[in-house]
Amino acid sequence: MTRSNLKTGRIKMFMKVFVATNIIGVFAFDKKGRIAHYNLFSPNPALIAARLKDVRAGELIPEEEALVKDLIRSGYKQLAWDKQIDFPGIECLYEPDNAAKGMLQKEFRKLAVQLNFVKTQAELNKLLSQVNIHMTKQEMRKEKKDVILMRSIAVVDELDRTMNTLSELLREWYGLYFPEAEKLIKDHERIAKIISEEGVREKITDKKVKKYAGITAGMPFSEADLKAVRTYASEVYGIYETREKIAEYIKKEARKSFPNLSAVAGPLIACRLLSLAGGLEKLARLPSSTIQLLGAEKALFRHLKTKDKPPKFGVIFAHPLIQNAKRNERGKVARILASKLTLAARADFYTGKDISDKLTADIRTKLKSGGIS
């Protein structure tokens, strides 16, 4: 193809067209910016949104196919496009930054009215808005397990906080009636269960507590008093059960969706990390030093501002490896753990391959070579 051919436009069969698609339809321009062929969408926002979604996924939509056929029929031999396709009868060049895109971007308002796609600019604006509302909705409809689990872990963490308060209140209340039971049964969940199911002093079956039933220092409770506190206890116990069920669900789902993170961090901590990072993709992009401190932002900024001592760990503090480490070794353990968490997050996001066995083995070797048991 030579420049003179193009300039005179005489030899159509050698001419190249540039193709682009946008909200109003599919267009092919020649090198001078004149429209060779076009194919408008029908002005239905839902349909246009669906088409544009396919276009962005690199698919050939019916309107584009029809346009290419028109081009072939008119004798064009070469087209440039930002998608990679093969079409019998015409040479398709892959040119991601071809001129058609820019032309359409600048001219689409004029074209929309000239070609009777819409009557006014205001109408076009409205359509643009509608189409994009549909497109954002399409995007949001995709299933995102990390987002679901981030919401669930927030509930579990809030329940943990709330249950502590509720249990304290229950203890204070029931303690008036049977202080010895309140003192001896240390576990919040268990005492809620016992009050709700047994309640009356004489009916309590716990061996340690039983013997105090007759000699208690507690005050008498009327039937109504007892009924009220037991109703409350049964609700509190119910919350413990709910919390357990949700936690079980999270563990199961997290292991399925993020096998590596769940194996290295434990599924609940894994979800807390996701939450703090804002999703799996974001977590996968964080450096290990940041992951180590996720959840310790307050301490970190205090350190930066006032030169207070820096934090060594964020939510990973609850991890058994750190919990069981000697105090002076916890920082080192946190660093090793965070480095493998980083790899785990990246494996989960980018490859989806389960490399958790290797990661956990690596942590063990590293701990050993660092002299930590």
Partner: protein, 217 residues
């Protein structure tokens, strides 16, 4: 009501926009009816451009029919006032990264008709490269690369002679550094590709924020 900028009205100490969608009172501190018009009060405590206007900015480059690229649209509160100012012949391309916020932005957009919600990251303008050239770019993004985001987006989408506005959030950029120093640094980054027209600090409405109006020459 006195029109102090195109589409922005003042009554006493309060500022308003003339609503293009009567009966839509969300995000307005109050609404005032005057004849057939309805005015929505623009709260400087909730919207940075409103704070800039109240703090006495002299240039507010937004007018009827403008095409606007809005980075960091959140749930569309400030967008809804821009939408009133530019009217039905104008359009706002509202970029927002958070899905949670887009949900609210969508419902604002449904009602206003001239807001185009885009779920994307303002740091990656290539993800929404299809939008047309615009008259105004506005950025209110909490990021440590605020200036870079503006430079990239204005370079790609802003027409020559068009204006850019940014609310620099000092604490997003560096929590420790003195805000004054942050402003100086950010301004010098912006200055490389845009001409600074005016700056105003937004205290007490927004702590450690500076509003900057720029022009692409």
């Amino acid at each position: 009501m006195k029109e102090i900028f195109p589409g922005v009205f003042r009554q006493g100490k309060r500022i308003f926009t003339k609503s293009i969608t009567r009966g839509f009172s969300s995000y307005a501190k109050s609404t005032v009816k005057s004849g057939r018009d309805e005015f929505r009060e623009w709260d400087p405590k909730k919207s940075k451009p409103a704070a800039a206007i109240i703090r006495g900015i002299k240039h507010f480059p937004l007018s009827e029919g403008d095409k606007v690229l809005y980075l960091g649209a959140a749930s569309g509160a400030t967008c809804s006032f821009f939408s009133d100012i530019i009217g039905i012949n104008g359009i706002i391309y509202a970029v927002e990264i958070s899905e949670r916020s887009i949900r609210d932005l969508n419902s604002t957009a449904e009602k206003k008709g001239n807001i185009v919600p885009i779920l994307a990251d303002a740091r990656k303008p290539e993800d929404y490269e299809w939008i047309e050239p615009v008259d105004v770019v506005f950025e209110d993004v909490a990021s440590d690369e605020q200036a870079a985001i503006m430079v990239r987006n204005a370079g790609k989408f802003l027409k020559k002679g068009g204006h850019a506005m940014i609310a620099i959030k000092s604490r997003s950029i560096d929590v420790v550094m003195d805000p004054k120093q942050v402003y100086t640094e950010q301004l010098s980054l912006l200055e490389k590709s845009l001409k600074i027209v005016e700056t105003v600090e937004l205290d007490p409405y927004e702590k450690d924020h500076m509003f900057v109006v720029m022009k692409k020459t």
